[in-house]
Structures are given as C-alpha cells and as structure tokens.
Assembly symmetry: C2
Homo-oligomer: 343 residues x 2
C-alpha cells in the first residue's frame, strides 16, 4: 500500500493537517516546515489519494465528456479527437482530468451520465453534440448539474452555456459564394435533421437562396446518414432530378469526400460540373481531389472554450449562462468554380 498523509506527518514530525496544508501550499506554513514535509514526501514517494481528497472536499477535479452514441456514425469523424484535444489541453492546464462516455446507444449514454452525476464522478459535463429534445440535456437541467454544450441547445438557449460557431452565417456565406460565382441551382446535403448543427446550416442556406430569389425545390434538401452510404445516396437523389444542382452546400467534409466520389462514379467532375462547399475544414479537406472550399470552424478552440466555461461553472455555481461563438473562416480552395456562362 502506498504511503499516506499520516506516514508523511510522522516522518516529518508534524501533524497530518500540516502536511495537508503543505500540499495546498498554504501560506501560513513556515518555509522551513514546508521544506521538511516536502522532503519527507519525496522520501516516501508520497502521492495524495485523490478519492479521499474528493470525498473530503466533495469535488473531483474531473470533467465528463459525452460523445454521441456510437450508433451514430458521426463518431468516426475526426472532429471528435480534435475537440477532445482542445478540451484535454485546457483541462490539463487546470489539472482537471477527463472522463469520457462512449456508450453504444442512447440508453447506454444516459446511464453513464447518470452514473457520472449521481456518483459524483465529475464536477461537470461537456456534451459534444446537440439534438432536439435530448433526454441527457433535460436530465442535466433538472439536476442543475453544471454542463456545457458544444453546439446550440435546441431549447432554453439562454439558460444553457454553450460554445458554438455561427453556423447560420457560415452557411449563408458559403451559399452566397456559390451564388456570386454564378450558380443558380444549389442544393443542400445535411446530416440528421435532429441535430441543431444541421438545422442551423440548413437555415443559412435557405436564407441565402431566398434572398437571391433562386429556386428552392424541396428535393434540393437532403438529409442523409453520414458519409459513405450518405454521400452516395445524396448524390443519387440529387442528380437524378430533372434539374440537377450545379452547386452543393454540404454539412461536413467527410460527407463531401463521399460526394466527390460518387459524382465521379456517375461521370461528373468537381469542380467542372459541380461546385462543392463544405464544413469543418478537417485536415483531409486539403488533400481531397480537388481540395475543398470549406468553413474552418476551429474545432480545437471549440474544445478549449467549452472546457474553460465548464470549469468556471463548476467552480462557481452562480456563473451565468454564456454563449461563446467561435469565429469561423471560409477557406477557399478548388472545389468551387465559376459557372461557365457558355454552357
């Protein structure tokens, strides 16, 4: 068994409480005893038992991270390691640890969250997704447990701290870009229409199309499962229409990859025949053929801010709800092309 605070106390000839104060670097302890105690700790290879500490102070110095259910194929998106990296970086700085939930289905996740909350495993929770009428979200609200959402809450927007991009605006920009370079028939390919991120991106697209007075047949809006099957499906649907689109607003780079692929299969070329605009600026956006015009949403920073907000909130229950909008930037690459007026 590892040595305890008592062992250290005995060895240094002080009381346990003094050792505790040295650990906390309490200013009322004289430098000489501090030194003595520290030496004893070194010699004994002492490390505080976090469980005991947590029990005593009723906090854990840990934050829970909840990913979408792995049923959700979204999990294969490099988005997640990248947010995790952001969260982890801030957490590390502040000496918090990360507790990750990766349940199989929604029920698993709900259970895990319950365990985290009721079992006092974490001081707060970051949700890595936001969908409408999500039971986890509701549960956390009811429990008044500190949490923040990456993305936009579907309701109670002003009571829930969240960090997000201006997806509406970004989408507007992308769509307008397509319009600016002459596209008239622009379609939207999104993920599940239950995710707020899809909803916002769709809204921005809609707005731009309407402002420009362009046609907006409902068939131009497709919600598909992520990637592979999704990309295929979307392209099949869209390009069997009477007036297939020449411009595409796609809600994720990974989907775009699938789209490019399927286009090629049916004999269409990007950007010659179809221009693609996309979201997320995953590293792979630069190495597709052609490289994607996409919105850099600063995934890493989303994570950093979320962690910061959560920790603030966990340390001070009265911290007001905030909204942090991480700025985005459209990266113009080669997947978009001015429409050929001679065609």
């Amino acid at each position: 068994m590892a040595s305890t605070i008592k062992d250290v106390a005995k060895k240094a000839g002080v009381a346990p409480s003094t050792v505790s104060r040295v650990i906390a670097d309490n200013s009322r302890i004289s430098l000489s005893t501090k030194k003595r105690v520290r030496k004893a700790m070194k010699q004994l290879g002492y490390h505080p038992n976090i469980n005991a500490r947590n029990l005593a102070v009723r906090s854990t110095q840990a934050i829970g991270v909840v990913m979408p259910s792995s049923a959700d194929t979204a999990l294969q998106n490099p988005f997640f390691p990248e947010v995790l990296r952001g969260i982890g970086s801030f957490a590390h700085e502040t000496e918090y640890s990360l507790y990750v939930s990766t349940g199989g289905d929604d029920d698993d996740i709900f259970e895990e969250v319950q365990r985290m909350v009721h079992g006092n495993r974490v001081d707060g929770i970051i949700l890595l997704y936001s969908r409408i009428s999500d039971s986890v979200q509701q549960f956390l609200m009811e429990e008044e447990f500190p949490f923040v959402i990456i993305g936009k809450p579907s309701e109670q927007e002003n009571e829930i701290t969240h960090v997000d991009n201006d997806n509406y605006k970004a989408s507007l920009e992308l769509t307008n870009h397509l319009i600016d370079i002459g596209h008239q028939n622009i379609a939207f390919i999104g993920g599940s229409d239950e995710l707020t991120v899809t909803i916002d991106r769709l809204q921005g697209y809609r707005q731009a199309i309407q402002e420009a007075g362009l046609p907006l047949p409902e068939e131009y809006i497709v919600h598909v499962e992520f990637l592979k099957s999704g990309g295929r499906e979307a392209v099949e649907q869209l390009f069997s229409l009477q007036t297939p689109p020449t411009g595409l607003v796609v809600a994720d780079d990974l989907m775009s990859l699938g789209v490019i692929n399927m286009l090629e299969e049916i004999g269409l070329n990007c950007p010659e025949d179809v221009s693609i605009t996309s979201f997320n600026n995953l590293y792979l956006a630069e190495i597709t053929t052609p490289p994607l015009t996409t919105v850099d949403i600063q995934i890493y920073m989303l994570g950093v801010h979320a962690a910061r907000c959560l920790i603030e909130k966990a340390q001070n229950k009265d911290e007001p709800a905030k909204r942090i909008i991480v700025p985005h930037e459209v990266k113009y690459r080669q997947s978009t092309k001015e429409i050929d007026p001679t065609k």
Copy 2:
C-alpha cells in the same frame, strides 16, 4: 446535497450496513428488507457516492486510456475514436468508466499517468501506442500497475499483456501481393520509426522483398510524418529516384490518401502507374479514388480485447501476461493493378 446511505437506512428503518448489503445484493439479506430498502432508495433518489465507495474498497471501477501526445499528428487518425469505441463498449458492459489522457506533449502525458496511478484514479491503464523506450511504459512496469498495450511492447514482450495484429505477416502479405502481380520495385512508406507498429510493418515488407530476391535500396524506405506533409514528402522523394517504385506499401490509409493525392499532382495515376497497398481499413479507404487495397486490422476489436484483458488483470493481479493477436484480413480493392508487361 444528495441523499446518503444513512438517509436510506433511516427511511427504511434499518442500519446503514444493511443498506450497503442491499446495494451489493448480498444473499444474506431477506427479500422483504431488500424490497423495503430498495423502495426507500427510489423514493429518496439515492445513488451511491462513488468516491466514498472507492475509498472504502480501494478501487475505482475506472480504466485509464492513454493516447499518444497530440504533438503526434497521429491523433487525427480515425483509429482513435474507433478503439475508444471498442474499449468503451466493453467497459460499459462491465460497468467500468473511461478516463482519458490527452496530454499536449510527452511530459504532460507522463504527468497525467502519474496522477492516474498514484492518485488511485484508475484500476488500470491501456496504452494506445507503443514506441521504443517509452517512459510511460517503464513507469508502469516499475510501479507494477496493471496495464495493457495496444500494439507490441518494444521490450519485455512476454511480461506485458498486449493486444496487437500480426503486422509482420500482414505486411508480408501485402508485399507479396504486389510481387505476385508483377511489381519489382516496391517501396515502403511508414510513420515514425520509433513506433513498434512501423517497425513490424517494415520488417514484413523487408522479408517479402528479400525472399523474392528483389532490389531493396535504402531509398525505398521512407519514414515520414503522418499524412499531408508526410505523404507529399514521401512521394517527392520516391519519385525523383532514378528507378521510382511501381508498388507501394503504406503504413496507414490516411497516409495513402496523401500519397494518392501527391501522385496525381505530379502526373501519376493510381493504379495505372503506381499500385498502393495500405493498412487499417479506415472507412475512408473505401471512398478514396481508387478505393484502397488495405489490411483490415479490426480496430474496434483491438479495443474490446484490450479492455477485457485489462479488467481481468485489474481484478486479479496474478493474471499472467498475455498476448492477443487480432486476426487481420486484406481487403482487395482497386488501388493495386497487375503490372503491364508490355511497358
């Protein structure tokens, strides 16, 4: 404050110890009191405090997962969410939680691992990478702390439980496949040569080449940073050689994506001019152009097995060290092509 075991005891008119026994579903408690106690728990919305429990039993029901440092660009690889998913799935079944370390650099990680171990935060640790003379690995050995490696330990192979693929053999197969379809000039593109996975894959390649009596100039072996810059660099190097290769064994699908891309940029086509074989069978291997011939290493299963082994080990310190080899399967797709004998 949430209700405690005492509250429940009072409400049910029993002693705290009885409640405790009910939680553990102790067989010596009469069914009637069990029912009474359970009812009280429900009514009070009672959930055991995990910290207190952990403190009392000196265990945590949590396992630590250590990713490579995020300095390592490997982190952007979809490999990680996928293993996490596997680990998470098994962990969930057995009611373990996941504790994830995502340090910025190697020192951060080392610190976090120390905290995990000494602070009693986790019952065991899974390392998601293996490199030669890794300080974390050493540390865990010295502390005799339960851990398992996904990959192959660089030393003490027989004392460290690990789950791995037969990377040597898989690489041999890939290389032989290229040889079988007529390639004579085959190069290897790997990641850092400090990672055991790279080493094994290189070895398999070497073996196949030598067995076939083919040329193996040292310039045919390149170690590059992951992806983008890496892929570019590798291709640039290899295809400015006097005898550029016609076949490639690439240690990761993500790298392959970069390679295909750069090839195109310099006017070469895969598979017409260059055949590519690759590793991991990431979902994106199916949607590149062309789809990749790659080794399916069953990432998810790697995670599941690792979790299982770790939990066994954590529950029984005498559990012997094991090696689990997860079977692989080469997926033949369109990135490889018989060499044209007329050329």
